[in-house]
Symmetry: C2
Subunit: 252 residues, 2 copies
């Protein structure tokens, strides 16, 4: 069996998230059904991780095993011609070693949470960013709070109570806040993220920007290991999975 | 009667264009019905011009006469709370002299035609730009052709045959091509545009970029005054009405 890896972008607006679930209408379902028409065989894909309903991806990665002999350079176009317009393969496929697993082999992931500041939301980006109607967000305080989330921490306060991971310790290698016109983007790159972790960090930072939480309180929130200490979970549609890194860049 | 002017942005994807028509589902219909709930009176708006189905606006302008005493600074938020998410008032309303007419008083308009270059379209901008799948577009030739469209010309070759305007002479004050990553934007500012003129100019420039029309042929196409000489009408969804200028900036 060959092991094929692909990178996709999707507008998650009309889907119930990435991963197959009883309610159907997931990105995984759509891709598996496109792969079945393409290869003639029921094919199961493994994503680098779930994304929730209305969450987007610029660089989600999945892999699958197949008997198909389609040449590596033909997969992307062949699959794209069978996918709806809001899901797109964005790179030439790669044939990878048999033990490559899109989830377990991932070394780093980068997420972005996008905020539109101002009286009126942007009609063209309304599904891709959270609209904050007041211009009064203290960006310096947010940047300071963001720095305090960097590094290795127990992120229990930043995940939903019933998360089933054994350890809540994760490392955020870098965190960045970018402002351009009315748009504020929060970026996090880390070795892994707990369920809802990015959205809770974003919701907490928004409260820091609003002056409801002091930037220095971030350390107390981390140490408290209690979801109730952090801010609310920011709305899903502001979140985008930007990239998944498998460590190849280290070899360059 | 007061005369009120407003500026709106809209994602034209799901509408049959700006102006009321028998098929319904137009942006004008939606705004007039929101104004009716707001003021209690049937209200007719006048736009700066039509935009076709799937065409967008960042700065469309309309005006309307009303007996309503709503304060000028309250109109925008009050109307926005009654509009769907894909139509948004983007500036505080203005009370204007009785003879102000959004169409006849307009001095200049700016349109943008957006093209995405590359194998895969951008899922987040798929409704807002034309996707050109081959990277081989000769940008220099397009820029040269764009310059030849600047100035005062008879644009008969760049409008549909049955346009009912008396004169086909228009002036393009400035034309610009901007490239950023995979995105190519064509901008035109002029004193007016004939029906389909921007889309035909865009379709012609794309053929220049593809090498199907030489950049020097633009002058012959203009002089020929024949729609058949120009390139095809580019798809509607790449077009955006960026701004309408009423000459106030001259007074600054």
């Amino acid at each position: 069996m060959r092991n094929i890896r692909m990178k996709i972008a999707y507008d998650g607006t009309r889907y119930n998230g990435f991963q197959t679930q009883p309610g159907g209408n997931t990105i995984q379902d759509v891709i598996e059904s496109a792969l079945e028409t393409l290869t003639g065989a029921r094919t199961r894909i493994v994503g680098s991780g779930r994304t929730d309903a209305r969450v987007h991806a610029e660089g989600q990665v999945f892999n699958f095993h197949t008997e198909s002999r389609i040449a590596v350079e033909r997969w992307a176009l062949a699959l794209n011609s069978r996918l709806p317009e809001d899901i797109r393969v964005v790179e030439t496929a790669a044939e990878v070693p048999d033990d490559f697993h899109a989830r377990f082999s991932a070394k780093r992931k980068t997420y972005r949470y996008s905020i539109c500041i101002g009286k009126f939301h942007d009609v063209f980006r309304r599904n891709f960013e959270f609209h904050h109607p007041s211009p009064k967000l203290d960006v310096d305080a947010m940047r300071e709070a963001l720095l305090r989330l960097q590094g290795e921490h127990d992120f229990t306060s930043f995940t939903t109570n019933h998360a089933d991971e054994k350890s809540h310790v994760r490392t955020i290698y870098s965190a960045e806040l970018r402002v351009e016109d009315r748009r504020l983007d929060l970026y996090w790159t880390g070795n892994g993220f707990l369920y809802n972790m990015v959205r809770i960090m974003a919701g907490t930072l928004i409260q820091v920007g609003q002056g409801k939480i002091g930037e220095a309180a971030i350390s107390d929130i981390l140490h408290g290991r209690n979801r109730l200490l952090a801010g609310p979970t920011a709305v899903a549609h502001g979140l985008t999975l930007v990239d998944v890194d498998y460590g190849e860049s280290d070899e360059e």
